[in-house]
Protein backbone atom coordinates (compact mmCIF):
# COMPACT_ATOMS: atom_id res chain seq x y z
CA UNK A 1 0.00 0.00 0.00
CA UNK A 2 2.91 2.30 0.66
CA UNK A 3 3.28 3.15 -3.03
CA UNK A 4 -0.20 4.64 -3.15
CA UNK A 5 -0.80 8.30 -2.47
CA UNK A 6 -4.08 10.14 -2.04
CA UNK A 7 -4.15 12.91 -4.61
CA UNK A 8 -6.53 15.28 -6.28
CA UNK A 9 -7.15 14.30 -9.90
CA UNK A 10 -5.91 17.52 -11.46
CA UNK A 11 -2.62 17.22 -9.56
CA UNK A 12 -2.20 13.49 -10.04
CA UNK A 13 -2.66 13.90 -13.79
CA UNK A 14 0.00 16.61 -13.82
CA UNK A 15 2.38 14.31 -11.95
CA UNK A 16 1.44 11.53 -14.36
CA UNK A 17 2.49 13.77 -17.25
CA UNK A 18 5.81 14.52 -15.55
CA UNK A 19 6.41 10.81 -14.93
CA UNK A 20 5.65 10.29 -18.62
CA UNK A 21 8.53 12.59 -19.48
CA UNK A 22 6.73 15.88 -19.96
CA UNK A 23 9.15 18.70 -19.19
CA UNK A 24 7.42 21.67 -20.79
CA UNK A 25 4.04 23.10 -19.92
CA UNK A 26 2.43 26.26 -21.27
CA UNK A 27 -1.01 27.25 -20.11
CA UNK A 28 -3.50 29.84 -19.04
CA UNK A 29 -5.71 29.44 -15.95
CA UNK A 30 -9.31 28.27 -16.12
CA UNK A 31 -11.52 26.37 -13.67
CA UNK A 32 -11.92 23.42 -13.09
CA UNK A 33 -8.32 22.47 -13.89
CA UNK A 34 -6.26 25.21 -12.22
CA UNK A 35 -4.60 22.71 -9.92
CA UNK A 36 -2.88 21.22 -12.97
CA UNK A 37 -0.90 24.34 -13.98
CA UNK A 38 -0.38 25.22 -10.32
CA UNK A 39 1.17 21.82 -9.71
CA UNK A 40 3.23 22.08 -12.89
CA UNK A 41 4.55 25.50 -11.87
CA UNK A 42 5.87 23.95 -8.66
CA UNK A 43 7.07 20.59 -9.95
CA UNK A 44 8.54 21.25 -13.39
CA UNK A 45 11.44 23.40 -12.17
CA UNK A 46 12.31 20.58 -9.72
CA UNK A 47 12.80 18.13 -12.58
CA UNK A 48 14.63 20.48 -14.89
CA UNK A 49 11.54 21.45 -16.86
CA UNK A 50 9.96 24.76 -17.75
CA UNK A 51 6.56 26.19 -16.87
CA UNK A 52 5.22 29.29 -18.52
CA UNK A 53 1.91 30.91 -17.75
CA UNK A 54 1.11 32.45 -21.11
CA UNK A 55 -0.91 35.58 -21.70
CA UNK A 56 -3.75 33.64 -23.31
CA UNK A 57 -4.82 30.23 -24.54
CA UNK A 58 -3.85 31.22 -28.08
CA UNK A 59 -0.34 32.00 -26.89
CA UNK A 60 -0.20 28.78 -24.83
CA UNK A 61 -0.97 26.47 -27.71
CA UNK A 62 1.49 28.28 -29.97
CA UNK A 63 4.20 27.94 -27.33
CA UNK A 64 3.33 24.25 -27.26
CA UNK A 65 3.67 24.25 -31.07
CA UNK A 66 7.14 25.76 -30.82
CA UNK A 67 8.34 23.33 -28.17
CA UNK A 68 6.83 20.41 -30.10
CA UNK A 69 8.88 21.44 -33.14
CA UNK A 70 11.96 21.13 -30.96
CA UNK A 71 11.06 17.51 -30.33
CA UNK A 72 10.47 17.63 -26.57
CA UNK A 73 7.57 16.24 -24.53
CA UNK A 74 5.24 19.18 -24.07
CA UNK A 75 1.65 19.70 -23.01
CA UNK A 76 -1.00 22.20 -22.15
CA UNK A 77 -4.29 21.86 -20.35
CA UNK A 78 -7.42 23.93 -20.21
CA UNK A 79 -11.16 23.65 -19.97
CA UNK A 80 -13.83 23.90 -22.65
CA UNK A 81 -13.85 27.63 -23.56
CA UNK A 82 -10.06 27.72 -23.34
CA UNK A 83 -9.75 24.64 -25.53
CA UNK A 84 -11.99 26.35 -28.10
CA UNK A 85 -9.44 29.15 -28.30
CA UNK A 86 -6.68 26.62 -28.95
CA UNK A 87 -8.28 25.00 -31.98
CA UNK A 88 -6.30 27.00 -34.53
CA UNK A 89 -3.05 25.95 -32.90
CA UNK A 90 -4.14 22.32 -32.69
CA UNK A 91 -4.86 22.36 -36.41
CA UNK A 92 -1.44 23.92 -37.15
CA UNK A 93 0.32 21.35 -34.93
CA UNK A 94 -1.57 18.55 -36.66
CA UNK A 95 -0.80 20.01 -40.09
CA UNK A 96 2.85 20.27 -39.14
CA UNK A 97 3.02 16.64 -38.05
CA UNK A 98 4.50 17.28 -34.61
CA UNK A 99 3.53 15.66 -31.29
CA UNK A 100 2.01 17.16 -28.17
CA UNK A 101 -0.55 16.40 -25.48
CA UNK A 102 -3.56 18.58 -24.68
CA UNK A 103 -5.82 17.93 -21.71
CA UNK A 104 -9.38 19.22 -21.62
CA UNK A 105 -11.23 19.22 -18.28
CA UNK A 106 -14.63 19.58 -19.92
CA UNK A 107 -17.20 21.85 -18.33
CA UNK A 108 -20.78 22.87 -19.03
CA UNK A 109 -21.34 24.91 -22.20
CA UNK A 110 -21.89 26.37 -24.72
CA UNK A 111 -20.10 29.66 -24.22
CA UNK A 112 -18.79 30.35 -20.75
CA UNK A 113 -21.39 27.92 -19.43
CA UNK A 114 -20.34 26.82 -15.97
CA UNK A 115 -17.65 24.76 -14.24
CA UNK A 116 -19.65 21.58 -13.64
CA UNK A 117 -18.73 18.21 -15.26
CA UNK A 118 -19.76 17.84 -18.90
CA UNK A 119 -18.93 15.86 -22.03
CA UNK A 120 -20.31 18.29 -24.57
CA UNK A 121 -16.90 18.86 -26.22
CA UNK A 122 -16.99 15.37 -27.70
CA UNK A 123 -17.54 16.53 -31.26
CA UNK A 124 -14.85 19.19 -30.90
CA UNK A 125 -12.35 16.66 -29.54
CA UNK A 126 -13.20 13.75 -31.81
CA UNK A 127 -14.43 15.27 -35.06
CA UNK A 128 -12.51 18.49 -35.40
CA UNK A 129 -12.65 21.94 -33.94
CA UNK A 130 -9.87 23.37 -36.05
CA UNK A 131 -9.75 23.60 -39.83
CA UNK A 132 -8.68 20.95 -42.26
CA UNK A 133 -8.61 17.16 -42.44
CA UNK A 134 -6.84 16.19 -39.26
CA UNK A 135 -7.41 13.78 -36.41
CA UNK A 136 -6.16 13.56 -32.89
CA UNK A 137 -5.99 10.54 -30.68
CA UNK A 138 -8.48 11.15 -27.86
CA UNK A 139 -8.09 9.30 -24.56
CA UNK A 140 -10.93 9.32 -22.03
CA UNK A 141 -9.92 8.00 -18.58
CA UNK A 142 -12.65 7.31 -16.05
CA UNK A 143 -10.52 7.25 -12.91
CA UNK A 144 -7.50 9.12 -11.64
CA UNK A 145 -5.36 6.00 -11.77
CA UNK A 146 -6.35 5.31 -15.35
CA UNK A 147 -5.67 8.94 -16.23
CA UNK A 148 -2.19 8.73 -14.75
CA UNK A 149 -1.49 5.49 -16.62
CA UNK A 150 -2.90 6.90 -19.85
CA UNK A 151 -0.66 9.94 -19.68
CA UNK A 152 2.30 7.67 -20.33
CA UNK A 153 0.48 6.25 -23.34
CA UNK A 154 -0.53 9.76 -24.42
CA UNK A 155 3.09 10.90 -24.76
CA UNK A 156 4.22 7.62 -26.28
CA UNK A 157 1.43 7.71 -28.87
CA UNK A 158 2.04 11.38 -29.61
CA UNK A 159 5.71 10.66 -30.32
CA UNK A 160 5.07 7.43 -32.19
CA UNK A 161 2.57 8.95 -34.61
CA UNK A 162 3.66 12.59 -34.41
CA UNK A 163 0.15 13.59 -33.49
CA UNK A 164 -1.79 15.68 -31.04
CA UNK A 165 -3.13 13.44 -28.30
CA UNK A 166 -6.02 14.82 -26.30
CA UNK A 167 -6.87 13.59 -22.83
CA UNK A 168 -10.46 14.45 -21.99
CA UNK A 169 -11.64 14.48 -18.41
CA UNK A 170 -14.03 16.70 -16.48
CA UNK A 171 -14.18 18.62 -13.24
CA UNK A 172 -15.32 15.57 -11.31
CA UNK A 173 -12.16 13.63 -12.12
CA UNK A 174 -10.11 16.80 -11.68
CA UNK A 175 -11.48 17.67 -8.25
CA UNK A 176 -11.90 14.28 -6.59
CA UNK A 177 -9.21 12.46 -4.62
CA UNK A 178 -8.39 8.80 -5.02
CA UNK A 179 -5.41 6.65 -4.12
CA UNK A 180 -3.03 6.59 -7.05
CA UNK A 181 0.18 4.80 -7.83
CA UNK A 182 2.78 6.05 -10.29
CA UNK A 183 3.85 2.80 -11.88
CA UNK A 184 5.85 4.00 -14.85
CA UNK A 185 8.53 6.61 -14.89
CA UNK A 186 10.04 7.56 -18.21
CA UNK A 187 13.72 8.44 -17.94
CA UNK A 188 13.90 11.57 -20.08
CA UNK A 189 17.60 11.11 -20.67
CA UNK A 190 16.70 8.10 -22.81
CA UNK A 191 14.43 10.18 -25.05
CA UNK A 192 16.30 11.04 -28.23
CA UNK A 193 15.76 14.31 -30.02
CA UNK A 194 13.98 13.31 -33.24
CA UNK A 195 15.91 13.88 -36.44
CA UNK A 196 13.14 16.16 -37.76
CA UNK A 197 13.36 18.53 -34.77
CA UNK A 198 14.23 22.16 -35.45
CA UNK A 199 17.15 22.39 -33.07
CA UNK A 200 19.97 23.40 -35.40
CA UNK A 201 21.87 21.66 -38.18
CA UNK A 202 24.33 19.76 -35.98
CA UNK A 203 26.55 19.06 -38.97
CA UNK A 204 23.72 18.15 -41.35
CA UNK A 205 23.76 19.67 -44.81
CA UNK A 206 20.23 21.01 -44.43
CA UNK A 207 18.10 22.83 -41.89
CA UNK A 208 14.89 21.20 -40.75
CA UNK A 209 11.87 23.28 -41.59
CA UNK A 210 8.47 22.62 -40.01
CA UNK A 211 5.41 24.30 -41.47
CA UNK A 212 1.75 23.64 -42.08
CA UNK A 213 1.83 25.73 -45.25
CA UNK A 214 1.96 24.05 -48.68
CA UNK A 215 0.85 26.40 -51.46
CA UNK A 216 0.96 23.82 -54.23
CA UNK A 217 -2.38 21.99 -54.35
CA UNK A 218 -1.00 18.70 -55.59
CA UNK A 219 1.72 18.87 -52.98
CA UNK A 220 -0.77 19.56 -50.22
CA UNK A 221 -2.92 16.69 -51.41
CA UNK A 222 0.08 14.38 -51.15
CA UNK A 223 0.70 15.69 -47.64
CA UNK A 224 -2.94 15.06 -46.75
CA UNK A 225 -2.73 11.52 -48.13
CA UNK A 226 0.26 10.90 -45.89
CA UNK A 227 -1.70 12.13 -42.88
CA UNK A 228 -4.69 10.01 -43.89
CA UNK A 229 -2.51 6.92 -44.17
CA UNK A 230 -1.22 7.59 -40.67
CA UNK A 231 -4.72 8.06 -39.30
CA UNK A 232 -5.81 4.79 -40.90
CA UNK A 233 -2.90 3.07 -39.19
CA UNK A 234 -3.91 4.57 -35.84
CA UNK A 235 -7.51 3.47 -36.35
CA UNK A 236 -6.30 -0.03 -37.07
CA UNK A 237 -3.96 -0.32 -34.10
CA UNK A 238 -4.91 1.92 -31.24
CA UNK A 239 -8.60 1.69 -30.40
CA UNK A 240 -9.32 0.56 -26.85
CA UNK A 241 -12.40 -0.37 -24.90
CA UNK A 242 -13.27 -1.74 -21.47
CA UNK A 243 -15.91 -4.46 -21.53
CA UNK A 244 -17.53 -4.67 -18.08
CA UNK A 245 -19.93 -7.49 -17.18
CA UNK A 246 -20.39 -8.22 -20.88
CA UNK A 247 -19.95 -12.03 -20.91
CA UNK A 248 -23.63 -12.81 -20.47
CA UNK A 249 -25.08 -9.35 -21.10
CA UNK A 250 -28.41 -8.93 -22.89
CA UNK A 251 -28.02 -5.17 -22.95
CA UNK A 252 -25.15 -2.74 -22.70
CA UNK A 253 -24.73 0.82 -21.58
CA UNK A 254 -22.24 2.70 -23.75
CA UNK A 255 -20.52 5.53 -21.88
CA UNK A 256 -17.07 6.96 -21.31
CA UNK A 257 -15.19 8.87 -18.62
CA UNK A 258 -17.09 9.99 -15.54
CA UNK A 259 -20.39 8.86 -17.03
CA UNK A 260 -19.07 5.33 -17.48
CA UNK A 261 -18.00 5.23 -13.88
CA UNK A 262 -21.47 6.12 -12.68
CA UNK A 263 -22.97 3.68 -15.18
CA UNK A 264 -20.94 0.89 -13.58
CA UNK A 265 -23.03 1.34 -10.45
CA UNK A 266 -26.14 1.21 -12.66
CA UNK A 267 -24.91 -2.13 -14.02
CA UNK A 268 -24.51 -3.50 -10.49
CA UNK A 269 -27.95 -2.27 -9.40
CA UNK A 270 -29.55 -3.67 -12.56
CA UNK A 271 -27.90 -7.05 -12.06
CA UNK A 272 -29.22 -7.17 -8.49
CA UNK A 273 -32.68 -6.81 -10.06
CA UNK A 274 -31.98 -9.62 -12.51
CA UNK A 275 -31.34 -7.48 -15.58
CA UNK A 276 -28.34 -8.74 -17.55
CA UNK A 277 -26.76 -5.39 -18.20
CA UNK A 278 -23.14 -4.69 -19.09
CA UNK A 279 -21.02 -1.69 -19.96
CA UNK A 280 -19.01 -0.89 -23.06
CA UNK A 281 -16.62 1.90 -22.19
CA UNK A 282 -14.54 3.46 -24.95
CA UNK A 283 -11.11 4.34 -23.55
CA UNK A 284 -10.14 5.87 -26.88
CA UNK A 285 -13.02 7.86 -28.32
CA UNK A 286 -10.87 8.43 -31.38
CA UNK A 287 -10.07 5.97 -32.74
CA UNK A 288 -13.56 4.80 -31.82
CA UNK A 289 -13.60 1.13 -30.73
CA UNK A 290 -16.07 0.25 -33.48
CA UNK A 291 -14.86 -3.28 -34.17
CA UNK A 292 -15.02 -4.21 -30.51
CA UNK A 293 -18.62 -2.97 -30.35
CA UNK A 294 -19.63 -4.62 -33.59
CA UNK A 295 -18.58 -7.96 -32.13
CA UNK A 296 -21.71 -7.76 -29.97
CA UNK A 297 -24.08 -7.56 -32.94
CA UNK A 298 -26.39 -10.57 -32.67
CA UNK A 299 -25.59 -10.99 -28.98
CA UNK A 300 -27.21 -7.88 -27.55
CA UNK A 301 -30.88 -6.92 -27.50
CA UNK A 302 -29.98 -3.25 -27.35
CA UNK A 303 -27.69 -0.55 -26.05
CA UNK A 304 -28.29 2.62 -24.10
CA UNK A 305 -25.77 5.36 -24.77
CA UNK A 306 -25.40 7.65 -21.76
CA UNK A 307 -23.49 10.92 -21.88
CA UNK A 308 -23.21 14.36 -20.32
CA UNK A 309 -24.11 15.86 -23.68
CA UNK A 310 -26.83 15.74 -26.31
CA UNK A 311 -26.33 12.87 -28.76
CA UNK A 312 -22.66 13.39 -29.51
CA UNK A 313 -21.19 10.05 -28.44
CA UNK A 314 -24.51 8.62 -29.62
CA UNK A 315 -23.73 9.69 -33.20
CA UNK A 316 -20.62 7.48 -33.22
CA UNK A 317 -22.63 4.63 -31.72
CA UNK A 318 -25.20 5.05 -34.51
CA UNK A 319 -22.45 5.04 -37.15
CA UNK A 320 -21.02 1.89 -35.56
CA UNK A 321 -24.14 -0.16 -34.89
CA UNK A 322 -26.59 1.60 -37.28
CA UNK A 323 -29.63 -0.66 -37.64
CA UNK A 324 -28.09 -3.74 -36.07
CA UNK A 325 -29.93 -3.41 -32.74
CA UNK A 326 -32.22 -1.01 -30.89
CA UNK A 327 -30.17 2.01 -29.84
CA UNK A 328 -31.38 3.99 -26.86
CA UNK A 329 -29.96 7.25 -25.59
CA UNK A 330 -30.01 9.20 -22.36
CA UNK A 331 -28.11 12.33 -21.51
CA UNK A 332 -28.03 15.40 -19.32
CA UNK A 333 -26.56 18.75 -20.17
CA UNK A 334 -25.26 21.95 -18.66
CA UNK A 335 -23.21 20.21 -16.01
CA UNK A 336 -25.99 18.08 -14.50
CA UNK A 337 -24.71 14.60 -13.65
CA UNK A 338 -27.32 11.84 -13.44
CA UNK A 339 -27.01 9.24 -10.69
CA UNK A 340 -27.05 5.47 -11.18
CA UNK A 341 -30.79 5.16 -10.44
CA UNK A 342 -31.70 7.84 -12.95
CA UNK A 343 -29.80 5.95 -15.65
CA UNK A 344 -31.53 2.71 -14.68
CA UNK A 345 -34.91 4.43 -14.87
CA UNK A 346 -34.01 5.66 -18.37
CA UNK A 347 -33.00 2.13 -19.34
CA UNK A 348 -36.26 0.64 -18.05
CA UNK A 349 -38.29 3.30 -19.79
CA UNK A 350 -36.68 2.52 -23.12
CA UNK A 351 -36.18 -1.23 -22.84
CA UNK A 352 -38.92 -2.29 -20.41
CA UNK A 353 -37.69 -4.36 -17.51
CA UNK A 354 -34.85 -5.70 -19.60
CA UNK A 355 -35.95 -9.32 -19.71
Amino acid sequence: MSDKVLMKGAEALAEGAIQAGCRYYFGYPITPQNETPEYMSRRLPEVGGRFVQAESEVASINMVYGAACAGVRVMTSSSSPGISLMQEGISYISGSNVPCVVMNAMRGGPGLGNIAPAQADYFQAVKGGGNGDYKRIVLAPSSIQEGVDLFVDAFELADKYRMVVMVIVDGLIGQMMEPVEFKTRIDVSTLKTPEWATVGRHGRDHANIITSLTLDAAGLEQWNLKLQAKYAQVEQAESRIEEYQMDDADYAIIAYGTMARIAKTTVRVARDKGIKLGLLRPITVWPFPAKQMQAYVGKLKGTLTVELAYRQLFEDVQLTLCDKMPLGWYGRGGGVVPGPQEILAAFEEQFGKGR
Binding site: M1, K4, L6, P32, I115, A116, G171, L172, Q175, M176, M177, E178, P179, R261, I262, K264, T265, R268, V337, G339, P340, Q341, E342
Partner: protein, 180 residues
Protein backbone atom coordinates in the same frame (compact mmCIF):
# COMPACT_ATOMS: atom_id res chain seq x y z
CA UNK B 1 -18.82 -3.86 1.44
CA UNK B 2 -19.15 -0.16 0.76
CA UNK B 3 -19.59 2.72 3.21
CA UNK B 4 -20.36 6.17 1.94
CA UNK B 5 -21.11 9.45 3.62
CA UNK B 6 -21.74 13.08 2.79
CA UNK B 7 -20.14 15.59 5.16
CA UNK B 8 -21.58 19.10 4.95
CA UNK B 9 -21.37 22.44 6.70
CA UNK B 10 -19.96 25.95 6.43
CA UNK B 11 -16.59 26.52 4.81
CA UNK B 12 -14.07 26.70 7.65
CA UNK B 13 -15.72 24.13 9.94
CA UNK B 14 -13.31 21.42 8.89
CA UNK B 15 -15.85 19.60 6.74
CA UNK B 16 -13.43 18.77 3.92
CA UNK B 17 -10.70 17.88 6.38
CA UNK B 18 -12.55 15.10 8.19
CA UNK B 19 -13.62 13.74 4.79
CA UNK B 20 -10.00 13.64 3.75
CA UNK B 21 -9.01 12.06 7.08
CA UNK B 22 -11.57 9.34 6.51
CA UNK B 23 -10.34 8.74 2.96
CA UNK B 24 -6.68 8.71 3.95
CA UNK B 25 -7.30 6.37 6.87
CA UNK B 26 -9.23 4.06 4.53
CA UNK B 27 -6.38 4.07 2.04
CA UNK B 28 -3.89 3.19 4.77
CA UNK B 29 -6.06 0.17 5.58
CA UNK B 30 -5.73 -0.92 1.97
CA UNK B 31 -9.30 -0.05 1.09
CA UNK B 32 -10.60 1.64 -2.02
CA UNK B 33 -11.53 5.26 -1.32
CA UNK B 34 -12.83 8.32 -3.11
CA UNK B 35 -13.22 11.89 -1.85
CA UNK B 36 -15.26 14.27 -3.94
CA UNK B 37 -15.75 17.91 -2.93
CA UNK B 38 -18.52 20.21 -3.99
CA UNK B 39 -16.58 22.60 -6.20
CA UNK B 40 -19.05 25.16 -7.47
CA UNK B 41 -18.25 28.86 -7.31
CA UNK B 42 -17.79 28.61 -3.53
CA UNK B 43 -17.67 31.64 -1.31
CA UNK B 44 -16.31 32.35 2.12
CA UNK B 45 -19.01 31.63 4.68
CA UNK B 46 -20.96 29.57 2.15
CA UNK B 47 -21.75 25.90 2.47
CA UNK B 48 -19.33 23.19 1.45
CA UNK B 49 -19.61 19.44 1.32
CA UNK B 50 -17.69 16.37 0.34
CA UNK B 51 -18.69 12.82 -0.47
CA UNK B 52 -16.48 10.01 0.82
CA UNK B 53 -16.67 6.37 -0.20
CA UNK B 54 -14.71 3.62 1.55
CA UNK B 55 -15.05 0.16 0.05
CA UNK B 56 -13.44 -3.24 -0.35
CA UNK B 57 -14.24 -3.35 -4.07
CA UNK B 58 -13.24 -0.79 -6.71
CA UNK B 59 -15.56 2.18 -6.40
CA UNK B 60 -17.80 2.88 -9.35
CA UNK B 61 -19.48 6.21 -8.71
CA UNK B 62 -17.81 8.73 -6.38
CA UNK B 63 -20.94 10.85 -6.72
CA UNK B 64 -23.53 10.16 -4.02
CA UNK B 65 -27.09 10.86 -5.02
CA UNK B 66 -28.46 8.73 -2.14
CA UNK B 67 -25.76 8.59 0.54
CA UNK B 68 -25.93 5.95 3.27
CA UNK B 69 -25.11 8.61 5.83
CA UNK B 70 -24.73 12.34 6.28
CA UNK B 71 -22.82 14.34 8.88
CA UNK B 72 -24.31 17.84 8.98
CA UNK B 73 -22.71 20.87 10.61
CA UNK B 74 -25.39 23.47 9.93
CA UNK B 75 -29.07 23.96 9.22
CA UNK B 76 -28.68 24.49 5.46
CA UNK B 77 -26.83 21.21 5.09
CA UNK B 78 -29.38 19.43 7.25
CA UNK B 79 -32.23 20.71 5.07
CA UNK B 80 -30.35 19.78 1.92
CA UNK B 81 -29.26 16.25 2.77
CA UNK B 82 -31.96 14.86 5.07
CA UNK B 83 -34.31 14.17 2.14
CA UNK B 84 -31.73 12.34 0.01
CA UNK B 85 -30.20 9.90 2.52
CA UNK B 86 -31.04 6.33 1.57
CA UNK B 87 -33.88 4.59 3.38
CA UNK B 88 -32.87 3.58 6.91
CA UNK B 89 -29.66 5.58 6.65
CA UNK B 90 -27.71 7.48 9.29
CA UNK B 91 -27.84 11.20 10.04
CA UNK B 92 -25.35 12.77 12.46
CA UNK B 93 -26.36 16.25 13.57
CA UNK B 94 -24.55 18.89 15.59
CA UNK B 95 -27.43 19.69 17.93
CA UNK B 96 -25.61 22.70 19.37
CA UNK B 97 -26.01 24.53 16.09
CA UNK B 98 -29.10 22.84 14.65
CA UNK B 99 -32.31 23.16 16.64
CA UNK B 100 -34.59 21.33 14.22
CA UNK B 101 -35.39 17.62 14.55
CA UNK B 102 -35.32 15.23 11.62
CA UNK B 103 -38.68 14.82 9.92
CA UNK B 104 -37.99 11.35 8.53
CA UNK B 105 -38.89 8.46 10.81
CA UNK B 106 -36.87 5.80 8.94
CA UNK B 107 -33.47 7.36 9.68
CA UNK B 108 -31.10 6.54 12.52
CA UNK B 109 -30.47 10.06 13.84
CA UNK B 110 -27.69 11.05 16.23
CA UNK B 111 -28.23 14.43 17.89
CA UNK B 112 -24.89 15.26 19.40
CA UNK B 113 -24.04 18.64 20.97
CA UNK B 114 -20.71 18.50 19.19
CA UNK B 115 -19.83 22.19 19.43
CA UNK B 116 -20.50 22.14 23.20
CA UNK B 117 -18.40 19.01 23.65
CA UNK B 118 -15.56 20.53 21.60
CA UNK B 119 -15.72 23.78 23.55
CA UNK B 120 -15.42 21.83 26.80
CA UNK B 121 -12.32 20.18 25.37
CA UNK B 122 -10.86 23.62 24.83
CA UNK B 123 -11.88 24.87 21.40
CA UNK B 124 -14.98 24.71 19.21
CA UNK B 125 -12.62 24.04 16.29
CA UNK B 126 -12.57 20.38 17.35
CA UNK B 127 -16.29 20.05 16.55
CA UNK B 128 -15.51 18.28 13.30
CA UNK B 129 -13.56 15.58 15.11
CA UNK B 130 -16.38 15.05 17.62
CA UNK B 131 -18.83 14.58 14.75
CA UNK B 132 -16.46 12.22 12.95
CA UNK B 133 -16.18 10.24 16.19
CA UNK B 134 -19.98 10.01 16.45
CA UNK B 135 -20.14 8.70 12.89
CA UNK B 136 -17.40 6.14 13.52
CA UNK B 137 -19.16 5.10 16.74
CA UNK B 138 -22.15 4.09 14.62
CA UNK B 139 -20.56 2.52 11.57
CA UNK B 140 -17.13 1.04 11.13
CA UNK B 141 -15.80 1.72 7.67
CA UNK B 142 -12.34 2.03 9.22
CA UNK B 143 -10.77 1.72 12.66
CA UNK B 144 -10.22 4.63 15.03
CA UNK B 145 -6.54 3.70 15.08
CA UNK B 146 -6.32 4.40 11.34
CA UNK B 147 -7.80 7.86 11.88
CA UNK B 148 -5.16 8.43 14.56
CA UNK B 149 -2.53 7.44 12.02
CA UNK B 150 -3.97 9.77 9.40
CA UNK B 151 -4.00 12.67 11.88
CA UNK B 152 -0.23 12.62 12.02
CA UNK B 153 -0.15 13.20 8.26
CA UNK B 154 -2.19 16.38 8.56
CA UNK B 155 -0.83 17.73 11.83
CA UNK B 156 2.89 18.17 11.47
CA UNK B 157 5.44 20.58 12.87
CA UNK B 158 3.93 22.93 15.45
CA UNK B 159 0.50 21.48 14.81
CA UNK B 160 1.65 18.04 15.95
CA UNK B 161 0.93 19.27 19.48
CA UNK B 162 -2.75 19.22 18.54
CA UNK B 163 -2.85 15.50 17.74
CA UNK B 164 -3.69 14.42 21.30
CA UNK B 165 -6.60 16.82 21.75
CA UNK B 166 -7.95 15.84 18.33
CA UNK B 167 -7.83 12.21 19.41
CA UNK B 168 -9.74 13.16 22.57
CA UNK B 169 -12.38 14.98 20.55
CA UNK B 170 -12.73 11.97 18.26
CA UNK B 171 -13.11 9.67 21.27
CA UNK B 172 -15.67 12.00 22.88
CA UNK B 173 -17.83 11.55 19.78
CA UNK B 174 -17.45 7.77 19.87
CA UNK B 175 -18.26 7.68 23.61
CA UNK B 176 -21.33 9.87 23.20
CA UNK B 177 -22.82 7.41 20.74
CA UNK B 178 -21.79 4.29 22.64
CA UNK B 179 -23.18 5.32 26.03
CA UNK B 180 -26.64 5.65 24.52
Amino acid sequence: MEHNVVIAGFGGQGVMLIGELLARAGMEEGKEVTWLPSYGPEQRGGTANCAVVVADEPIASPLLTEPQAAIVFNRQSFDKFEPVIEKGGLLVIDSTLIDRKASRADLDVVYIPATDIATELGNSKFTNMVLLGAYLGKVNPISIASVHGALSVFLTGKKAALIEVNKKALQAGVDFVNKK
